[in-house]
């Protein structure tokens, strides 16, 4: 076990990627992601990997596509506007069954928005933000420590399913400095699997990386359905706090979940039966977690967006049995005391006959 060290969330994520065996990074500067790029600009050389500051996010993600074709654990990172440019590559990675990790250090707003912490890319990340019929596993860390831990998991899951994995971090997690215990170094063998291209002798079958649609023919549909069904069945991850007896269950991911955890404690101290479900996988959404919320009369999300982007998934997970409320702002991380006031309002409203 290594000693705890102080690291910016973005740097913990970058260092953890190397320790997970990542030896290929390509990226482009954008706040609040840039420290990942800056860190890897010198650190990747130290571990003998390849670092490229690309001409655009588009070029970077397609370099990752090429690196992954060769079997590398490949990473690209961005934020908001740049993450939108990654969508072409993410769709192609999905189409070609290629593993990769793509990080979005979320900021606020559509268009330029601003550089402050946000959680407005939930829909884009969980629905498949590019063209076509796909979605990707999305992991949502809520601390610098989880930025590191989930990075390792992301590479493992990406390889397990031969599918890109997204990490939904945000500016608060990325910019904060916290104490982190880094994962151990692991080696990655480019030839660990048979599928990466490596060169073929004349009498050997060749390996090609292309849209799987072309190579599988009729089997393609079942293959894809099974792949997504398996991910939904096996990869739901979440944290539950005092959910069983809760009359109001908060739902939040990322930095917002930490405020919610504190609010649960504060509300319980006031005698309110409040719990928290924190999705760690945003997709697959942790539907199983909601089975335990048998006493919930309502759900309340807290997220740094205006439209309450997780609300639909909560309604689907619960069959719309009880109302779902939203709290949160694009301009700030909700203050715990404000959230407790909102909890009291919602509980009063539910008691009085619902939404």
């Amino acid at each position: 076990m290594s000693e705890r060290v102080l690291m910016k969330g973005n740097e913990a994520l970058a260092e953890a990627a190397l320790r997970a065996g990542c030896r290929f990074f390509a990226g482009y500067p954008i706040t609040p992601q840039t420290e990942i790029l800056e860190y890897l600009s010198w650190r990747m050389d130290e571990v003998g990997g390849s670092y490229t500051q690309a001409e655009s996010e588009l070029a970077a993600v397609n370099m990752v596509y090429g690196a992954s074709s060769g079997g590398a654990r490949a990473l690209t990172t961005s934020s908001g506007p740049g993450f939108s440019l990654k969508q072409e590559g993410i769709s192609y990675l999905c189409g070609a069954d290629l593993p990769a990790v793509i990080v979005n250090v979320m900021r606020i707003g559509s268009g330029l928005g601003n550089i402050f912490q946000g959680q407005g890319d939930y829909w884009q990340m969980t629905r498949g933000g590019g063209h076509g019929d796909y979605r990707t596993i999305v992991l949502a860390p809520n601390s610098a420590q989880e930025n590191a831990d989930l990075m390792v998991l992301a590479f493992d899951l990406a390889e397990k399913y031969r599918h890109p994995v997204l990490i939904a971090s945000d500016a608060a997690i990325g910019q904060s400095i916290e104490a982190v215990e880094l994962p151990e170094f692991r080696d990655h063998d480019l030839n660990k699997y048979d599928w990466p291209v490596r060169g073929a002798k004349a009498d050997e079958p060749i390996r090609t990386v292309k849209n799987v649609f072309y190579s599988m023919g009729d089997a393609y549909e079942d293959y894809l359905r099974d792949k997504y069904a398996q991910i939904e069945a096996e990869e739901q991850r979440w944290e539950s706090i005092q959910v069983e007896d809760a009359e109001l269950v908060l739902v939040a991911f990322g930095i917002s979940s930490r405020v919610c955890e504190e609010a649960v404690e504060g509300a319980r101290a006031k005698g309110l039966k409040v719990g928290l479900i924190r999705p760690i996988t945003l997709w697959p959404f942790p539907v199983k977690a909601f089975e335990k919320a048998v006493n919930a009369k309502a759900f309340l999300t807290n997220e740094m967006n205006l439209l309450g982007q997780t609300m639909d998934d909560i309604r689907l997970a619960t069959g719309c049995r009880v109302p779902v409320y939203h709290s949160g702002s694009i301009f700030a991380i909700t203050d715990t005391n404000d959230l407790i006031v909102r909890i009291e309002e919602v509980m009063e409203e539910v008691k009085g006959g619902g939404q």
Binding site: N62, M63, G66, G70, V197, R198, A200, V209, N211
Partner: protein
């Protein structure tokens, strides 16, 4: 040119139109790879357009890239598989329209891959639309009255755009006529040699006829290429060639 097809070319799914240059280009690459003894290690990246059909006739490990991202895909692959020669193969639409940024920055950074760009002055796969390489007055399905060079620009010349870049090799050949094909093969070979010496971006543009989309017979296409295209796209070595 050998009379026997190279071992690395198979004929199971040959799909190019009659008179197209892609088949010749694919064969030259296979011949060079074999003659230089690197066929076992060569990795190729192809675009989604016409050139992608080499996936079916080349016996090389191959990656199909997104349109215009062939070069950056090859760059990512090369940086991962450093001991393998890596070749990107794509067309003028990919290189000079949607992938212009990728083309320029690969030159700027002198990325260590071979780029073979087949220039037929038109978008082939989508059915013959105007390209940044189309000649002034050239009729295409998206310039039915002929390309207006005032509105859409003169044909893009990579040797001018790359003039300030410190890359080891830049040449343009043509895929019609025995003498030109032999010269093109020498260019490809030189690109391989410098690539195997890790000198950086080795870039060969090959002019190809596209009889189908030019609406010309193969022989007329050959004439158009040699008489019209070469006025805008001179043949020869622009960087790293033999001393003249």
């Amino acid at each position: 040119m050998k009379l026997k097809a190279p071992d690395r070319i198979t004929f199971s799914h040959f799909g190019f139109c009659p008179g197209c240059g892609h088949g010749v280009a694919g064969r030259l690459i296979a011949e060079v790879a074999e003659e230089m003894g690197v066929a076992d290690k060569l990795l190729t990246a192809v675009d989604v357009a016409c050139g992608s059909m080499h996936m079916n006739d080349w016996h090389f490990d191959t990656v199909m890239a997104a349109h215009g991202r062939t070069l950056v895909t090859a760059i990512g692959l090369k940086k991962t598989r450093r001991d393998n020669p890596v070749l990107a193969y794509y067309g003028d639409g990919a290189a000079y329209a949607i992938g212009m940024a990728e083309t320029m920055h690969a030159g700027l950074r002198n990325e260590n891959v071979i780029a073979i760009v087949v220039n037929n002055a038109i978008f082939g796969m989508t059915g013959g639309q105007m390209a940044p390489t189309s000649l002034p007055g050239q009729k295409t399905t998206s310039s039915p009255l002929g390309k207006d060079a005032v509105r859409f620009g003169q044909p893009f010349k990579v040797e001018e755009a790359f003039s300030g870049f410190d890359i080891p090799y830049l040449a343009r050949g043509a895929l019609v006529g025995a003498a030109n094909v032999n010269r093109a093969k020498k260019m490809i070979k030189k690109a391989f040699e410098k690539h195997l010496d890790n000198q950086g971006l080795c870039y060969v543009e090959l002019l190809s006829p596209c009889p189908t989309n030019w609406n010309l017979e193969p022989l007329d296409s050959k004439r158009f290429l040699l008489e019209e295209m070469t006025k805008h796209f001179p043949l020869g070595e622009f960087k790293g060639g033999d001393a003249k």
